[in-house]
């Protein structure tokens, strides 16, 4: 990342993550390495365990590009992180409300007074709040248990909680292997997969941001064309069953990659909910920050 | 309690230290055990006490074969072995049973007898060598054991204190006639206290001689007979002669 005099980075550092299948494809096939080989630019891949790790890496200047959920990116931005969103790696339906068959919960309204597992501050949590909000249920009318995503799944299947705001691939797995079923889904309540870049990098090397997006586009096209093979790559990288990987991929929409109004709206809605639940300070102007965060210009100029 | 040793052998790492030691102590007898440094006196006491079970041979007490521990035996080790976390009085009453006051009473009485009334509150690290040894003696005597095993109990005491404690031992003996095995390297002491002295010698060491003193107690510390006994014992100990 330390640049030469001629505005060329020595090294570009990207993260890859099991929640961003395109990043796996990109890494697997080395499109970017191929592209930049001649210029002598090194590519470094860093594994992100989750959105907040990716954002931590961005904030500490450990990566230049990081993949995170839209809502998480927003929170980080609110806290002053110098990052911006330049690309959408997927429109995932990675979160939904899950219960077990024998819990006899059929509607979101039935959740009143029940125990629900969720990870505070993350997409599933926002999803839960919005779903409850839609039904006019106040969060205080349910018991939200703060559990990490994987632990939430365990708590659900072992009966410690009645419902769970789930996240893929955990969700896909419990769906396939237990009597868990999706109680409520709504793709629009998910906040998209944001590929973020450090502002510093974007300012110094705008050309290379573009090159990275180009490579991402190439990987996206390949993904769209080879869903079977992507599932294999995902299964391999995440050490999960092929079936689980397929189910997870089914719920990912890779057709839209330029950040735009829809994305902005999604994170603003998420931001409001987060303000209500005091994860984000009430005095913050969400609108402003969302506009600041999303920069569609580079993607627009790259992708026709 | 009578005590009999039959053909005791003890080896460490294959090297025999004691060979074929046998003797019998009648109830109430005081037996001295004499031998050069490293001749196995302490080892023999450990065997009798039951702390050491890796010996060959038999230990017979009151005509019954005996193995393991026996709480009617008291052992004054060669080192004071005080518990560093207990003060003098607590150390002395360690082995006593009964109410707190009873224990304290007995403890203070014996501390008086060994000349340590002033020091009952001190911790072992605050004691002089001889004081620590006297605490150990007090701890052993206070329980009125039937068999007393003493491993050089008075070695760290000055001549004067030593005489006082020798007399204390005799007083104790007068009061209930315990059987006493006394390891000592002070021959005058052996002659003053014991009914019989057993001399260990050789490598591995064996019983080379037994000498009986028949004078009634209390004895004279400086009788002329003593000099003869002493010469006899020293002679038997002398390793240069074989």
């Amino acid at each position: 990342s330390e640049g030469n005099t001629d505005g060329k980075p020595n090294k570009i550092r990207l993260d890859y993550a099991t929640y961003s299948p395109i990043s796996l494809v990109l890494k697997e096939f080395g499109f970017l390495e191929e592209e930049l080989k001649d210029e002598g630019i090194e590519i470094e891949w860093v594994f992100s365990q989750g959105s907040n790790k990716a954002l931590e890496f961005l904030n500490s200047n450990s990566v230049d590009f990081g993949s995170a959920a839209g809502a998480a990116t927003l929170i980080s931005k609110v806290n002053g992180a110098p990052i911006k969103n330049v690309y959408i790696f997927s429109k995932p339906e990675w979160t939904a409300l899950v219960t077990l068959e024998d819990e006899n919960i059929d509607l979101v309204a039935d959740l009143k007074g029940k125990k629900i597992a969720a990870t505070i501050g993350t997409d599933p949590y926002i999803f839960l709040l919005r779903a409850l909000n839609e039904q006019g249920i106040d969060p205080s009318e349910v018991e939200i248990v703060n559990l990490q995503h994987g632990d939430g799944a365990t708590a659900l299947t072992s009966g410690s909680v009645n419902a769970w705001a789930g996240l893929d691939p955990h969700m896909a797995r419990v769906e396939l292997e237990s009597s868990a079923q999706l109680l409520y889904r709504n793709p629009d309540f998910n906040t998209y997969g944001f590929l973020n870049v450090r502002e510093d990098f974007a300012k110094k090397y705008p050309g290379y941001v573009k090159r990275v997006i180009e490579a991402y586009e190439k990987a996206r096209k390949w993904t769209l064309e080879n869903p079977e093979k992507v599932a294999e790559i995902l299964a391999e990288e995440a050490q999960i069953d092929l079936e689980v990987a397929k189910l997870q991929l089914e719920r990912n929409d890779f057709t839209e990659s330029i950040p735009g109004n829809a994305h902005q709206k999604a994170i603003i809605e998420a931001g409001k909910i987060l303000q209500q639940s005091e994860v984000i300070d009430k005095t913050v102007n969400i609108q402003e920050i969302a506009t600041e965060l999303i920069d569609s210009s580079i993607a627009e100029s790259t992708i026709k | 309690m009578s005590l009999e040793l039959r053909n005791i052998n003890r080896s460490f790492n294959g090297k025999t230290v004691i060979r074929n030691v046998s003797f019998r102590a009648k109830q109430g007898e005081i037996i001295g055990l004499v031998g050069t440094s490293g001749s196995g006196k302490s080892t023999l006491l450990r065997v009798i006490s039951g702390l050491d079970t890796e010996y060959e041979g038999q230990i017979i007490m009151n005509d019954k074969q005996f193995e393991g521990m026996n709480s009617s035996i008291s052992f004054i080790f060669q080192e004071p072995r005080l518990f560093p976390w207990l003060n003098v009085l607590e150390n002395v009453t360690f082995g006593l049973k009964g109410s707190k006051d009873e224990k304290k009473g007995k403890g203070l009485k014996i501390l008086e007898q060994v000349g340590l009334s002033d020091s009952s509150e001190l911790y072992p690290r605050e004691l002089s060598g001889g004081m620590a040894q006297r605490v150990a003696i007090a701890r052993a005597l206070v329980t009125s054991p039937e068999i007393l095993l003493l491993d050089e109990p008075f070695s760290a005491l000055d001549a004067f204190t030593k005489m006082q404690l020798q007399d204390l031992l005799l007083e104790t003996w007068e009061s209930y006639h315990p059987t006493i095995i006394l390891v000592t390297h002070d021959i005058d002491e052996a002659i003053y206290l014991c009914d019989r002295v057993i001399i260990l010698r050789g490598k591995p060491s064996e019983v080379v001689k037994e000498i009986c003193f028949n004078e009634p107690r209390p004895r004279n510390r400086t009788s002329s007979q003593n000099a003869i006994y002493k010469a006899d014992i020293l002679n038997s100990l002398d390793l240069t002669k074989t």
Binding site: N79, G80, T122, N146, L147, G150, A155 | L51, P84, P124
Partner: protein, 277 residues
């Protein structure tokens, strides 16, 4: 270095000279807080200068404000209270079990062969790894949380108890045996006091590890507690909350350790050990 050679005095004498120092307790405290004070001032300065941006490392004053806010809305005491209570109960349970098992393993070869290999194997399993299993076995109530912390406490106490026992001077044990002590009495009256120094270090180590295991414990569905605060801070990417909870961990951990250290000082007055210069 030459100074070390100067004096060795027994603990009792040092106590006397410590009396002199009582007037100097203030001095000691000032001396002890020297390093942290300097560090914190440096940190504040660097933050003000903008060397650390706030989204990375907020200034101490900002963190203090966070703590004060928590304090004012009353939730701070709840967080601290519940975590302390969990650690306290778990500490009692974990160390009790460790002493019992440790005594058996230390005393009996058979017990060692039977239990020790397994315990040693469990010892290197990270706290986070237990989380899913504990949820599975015990749900997300207080049981699983306290068990988790107790696991942390257990290992150092166990290890030090076993070592303490096998290291007790044979000579003293023999004295106990001569007085016909039963095994239990022998443990209680000779072995435990003699193993006390090692055992107390084990307790202090265990307490420290207990605090460390709080986070894993409070990952299991807590809605209160210092560990919850920390995880919340990480999930909501707010560094001031993270660092505030770290500070609280440090302070409370230090206080609890200090109490154990007092106990250590009290119970080990008899030790005739090396005296610092």
């Amino acid at each position: 270095m030459g100074k070390l050679l100067a004096t060795v005095t027994t603990t009792k004498e040092v106590k006397k000279s410590q009396k002199k120092q009582k007037t100097n307790t203030l001095h000691t405290i000032i001396f002890g807080s020297l390093t942290p004070t300097i560090l914190i001032m440096l940190w504040e300065l660097l933050c003000r200068q903008g060397v650390f941006p706030t989204y990375q490392l907020p200034a101490p004053s900002v963190i203090l404000k966070t703590i004060i806010t928590l304090f004012q809305d009353g939730s701070l005491w709840t967080h601290i209270g519940i975590t302390t209570l969990r650690v306290f109960i778990a500490f009692i349970l974990g160390s009790a079990l460790a002493v019992i098992l440790g005594s058996f393993v230390g005393l009996y070869k058979k017990a060692e062969q039977l239990f020790d290999p397994m315990i040693q194997a469990f010892r290197s399993i990270p706290s986070l790894a237990w989380v899913p299993l504990f949820i599975l076995w015990m749900g997300i109530g207080e049981t699983s949380k306290i068990t988790m912390i107790a696991v942390g406490v257990f290992f150092p106490v166990y290890l030090n108890t076993v070592s303490g026992i096998t290291g007790v001077d044979r000579k003293l044990i023999e004295v106990g045996k001569m007085y016909g002590l039963s095994s239990f009495q022998l443990i209680w009256r000779v072995i435990l006091p003699a193993a006390l120094p090692l055992f107390l270090v084990g307790l202090r180590s265990g307490l420290g590890l207990g605090w460390m295991f709080v986070v894993a414990a409070e990952l299991m569905g807590a809605s209160k507690g210092l560990g919850y605060l920390l995880v919340l801070g990480q999930n909501t990417l707010s560094p001031e909350l993270i660092i505030a909870s770290i500070l609280l961990f440090a302070i409370i951990g230090k206080l609890s350790d200090w109490m154990l250290k007092l106990v250590e000082k009290r119970t080990l007055t008899w030790q005739d050990g090396f005296v610092q210069q």
